[in-house]
């Protein structure tokens, strides 16, 4: 296989095998639970990356009216709407979207697990079952009846995690995100059951994280304006090169009174630029 010819993949596979072995032989988990443990460890390592996003979401709440205005203004041109929203996020130093890097960091884990499950020489009589309904985590998901249950759980967990990861307010896009798992399931059905187990676990983690995030965001509605104002202006000027290509979405001052002087200054700057 072409992908396997890349040397780094066999090295990743070695690492994954060692980690799984450690959980199995040293911690005493079954092979299936070792996969769950690996997933949890990976997601725990990624937690610091998500904290920043939680702060951004907290900040975002007070910009909701302006964002809705932009959406209304460009509702017929989705491309333009996206661009304007992105510019608005940049100008106000907020961004609700997840970033690609943390997600991509999971890619090597996923690939190595895939190849480990395919190539590992399991010891004779190894217990590869999980919760009595998956008989063999290294076998294809649909090759066992329990795999179908796992796929149903996968679809539900994927929908739930999409719900929490989704940041768009666009209704069509939201529906699309929610329906997508129904199509992915056909790709996933061919993967080893252990890989689907990884997916279900990571999805459930996302849901748990989403629930905690929501609670945190709801609890702290007002962001700290001082921190933003002290570092935004110079950056804003730097980014105005590409940000000011088309007319800015003219954000109104936020309702919080403490940030008013800065907002006025920004407004002045923008008018002088035009």
């Amino acid at each position: 296989m072409i992908v396997y010819a890349i040397p780094i993949i066999s090295q990743l596979e070695d690492v994954m095998r060692h980690v799984l072995n450690w959980f199995h032989y040293n911690v005493g988990l079954t092979w299936a639970w070792s996969i769950v443990a690996v997933t949890v460890v990976v997601r725990m390592l990624l937690v610091p990356l998500t904290i920043k996003q939680i702060h951004s979401m907290q900040n975002l709440q007070r910009f909701a009216p302006q964002m809705k205005e932009i959406q209304k203004k460009y509702k017929n041109d989705r491309q333009k709407q996206n661009e304007e929203l992105m510019k608005f996020y940049r100008e106000n130093n907020v961004n609700p979207a997840a970033s690609c890097l943390p997600m991509l960091l999971q890619l090597p884990v996923f690939i190595s697990l895939y190849y480990t499950l395919k190539h590992y020489n399991w010891p004779a009589g190894a217990d590869l079952s999980w919760l009595n309904f998956i008989h063999d985590i290294s076998a294809g998901t649909t090759a066992q009846w329990g795999g179908y249950i796992l796929l149903v759980v996968y679809v539900a967990s994927q929908m739930a995690s999409s719900f929490f990861m989704m940041t768009t307010v666009d209704k069509t896009q939201r529906i699309l995100f929610m329906v997508m798992p129904l199509f992915f399931v056909f790709i996933i059905a061919r993967f080893p059951a252990g890989l689907v187990l990884y997916w279900v676990t990571t999805n459930l983690w996302t849901v748990g994280q989403g629930l905690v995030t929501r609670r945190l965001v709801a609890r702290t509605p007002a962001p700290v304006p001082e921190r933003r104002s002290s570092r935004t202006p110079p950056k804003d000027e730097g980014s105005s090169g590409n940000g000011a290509v088309s007319e800015p979405p003219s954000p109104k001052p936020a309702p919080s009174a403490s940030s008013q002087p800065r907002q006025v200054r920004r407004k002045k700057k923008r008018t002088s630029r035009r």
Binding site: M86, L101, F177
Partner: protein, 76 residues
């Protein structure tokens, strides 16, 4: 660019599509940039060829982290 010179970048674009069809499809994420990282990669490869395009795409991926501001960031 002639068709022959375009082959390497087409390979790169093929890899991006492979990612989109597999991992990217199953882990849908909303990128904080516009165009999204994978779209940016395709545009960069198309415009600057395999080597420079890959570097640009790699740099963009590194920038797409929780500490960056995101926003409108087209290939130049």
């Amino acid at each position: 660019m002639s068709a022959v010179l375009r082959v390497p970048s087409m390979l790169g674009i093929g890899l991006v599509w492979l990612y989109r069809m597999t991992f990217g499809a199953v882990f849908p994420t909303t990128c904080k940039y516009h165009p999204s990282c994978s779209e940016y990669a395709v545009q960069a490869l198309r415009r600057h060829g395999l080597v420079r395009g890959s570097v640009l795409a790699g740099w963009r991926l590194l920038r797409c982290n929780p500490w960056s501001r995101g926003g409108f960031d087209p290939v130049r």
